[in-house]
Amino acid sequence: MSNPKDLLYSESHEWVKMLDDTTALVGLTDYAQSELGGLVFVNLPEVGDEITAGETFADVESVKAVSDVYSPVTGVVAEINEELLDAPEKINEAPYDAWFVKVSDISAKEELLDADAYDEFIKGLE
């Protein structure tokens, strides 16, 4: 799967889709889901939670292990994708549709990569 050109990426393998200057959807990249394997549980924050760039805001579990998911932005959780709570396998099936949270009031961002730079970055990991 190629990484969509309209998204931004963190080096901890989250994607960010900016909806406007201060609102974004955040999810896990295809590389991350394929490294983690079949996901069976996702733990999401609650609406209204403040999340901070570079800090963990969710976790996902495969049958093998639990992994933290780091927030690429600082802001407030405006919405969570409740569908994932009952169907975490959607993250494996369509990682770029399976957004975790919608973040509003974004005040800071991590250094994010564009699709080409992220492609290069994961090539360096293999």
């Binding site: 079949g38 069976v40 733990n43 049958v63 093998k64 639990v66 709570l85």
Partner: protein, 368 residues
Amino acid sequence: MAEETLKRTSLYDTHVKYGGKIVPFAGWELPVEYSGSGVIAEHMAVRTKAGMFDVSHMGEILCKGPDALKNLNMLLTNDYNGMHDGQARYSPMCNEKGGVVDDLIVYKKDDQNYLMVVNAANKDKDFAWVKAHQSGDVEFEDISDTIGQIALQGPLAKKILLKLVKADAIPEAYYACKFDQDVAGVKCMISTTGYTGEDGVEIYTPMEDAPKVYEALMAAGKDEGLIPCGLGARDTLRLEAGMPLYGHEMDDTVTPREAGLGIFVKMDKDDFIGKAAIEAMGKPPKRRKAGLKVTGRGIVREHQDVYQDGKKIGVTTSGTHCPFLGHPYAVALIESDDRDPGAKVEVDVRGRRVEAEIVKMPFYKRGE
């Protein structure tokens, strides 16, 4: 562990060829899963069709001589009297305090020749232990590096093997074995002592011939849905089937009775190492294994504290999402008077209390 000390089974290249994701495990480089399938699909293949595991890392120790039986009965808690040739019997092996040195399977070839199959991580410790405690006319020989082992598991496992062998090459009973069987031109031992809760066989080969047998089985199982399976599925399958794993449900500080293995401790036989200590602790043991079904939101893993009515009563020893049952389960060692099925507990999952209920084990039983 430094990389250069890791060992490879003769199937290493075969795993790479089939897309195995190689990880270090008990001193070996082994596949945790395969890229074309993954843990969940491999688990489901074993429950519904067939899966094949390389378990060549396991240790094999020969016990031979006129006093072989006497030594097994002293070293192991189970009773090895009355076995017929071609029979297998599981047992914990205890230290003087009743803690478990290892759990293992003994296969009887004849009165003077037994094969002990032990956990890879414990093999050197076990060999030193049996050598230090042997008595009389007996010889123990570590042949681990010369033996490959393939576990073919699942409802279609025997059907697949039958394409390569005659019907009488496969033991009819569970916990039995047949020596010197021809599989794809290789002289093998075929046994039925599976670790998945499913029907199946293990095929012991000379180490260097394991790839030949493996590929012959892959070809024979192609139309039956057979896929290679890794260590990940091996662990989820054994947990779902309620089978203990050394280093989790038991170790040098846990007695077999505490680990729910009391049925394999035969107090009415002559002395064995650990007998006095186990007797002194009485039964039922204060601390005991319990199966947990997670009723809250979350996945319970090993080494998480278990609470009941706000009080810590123990710790989990294994836990994961069980793919066939589609639900998370865990095993714990707990001290509580309220531990019958239905009793409520909570588990601390990384700072979050997750509700669970004590349930009967095994979680999964074939045919139910």
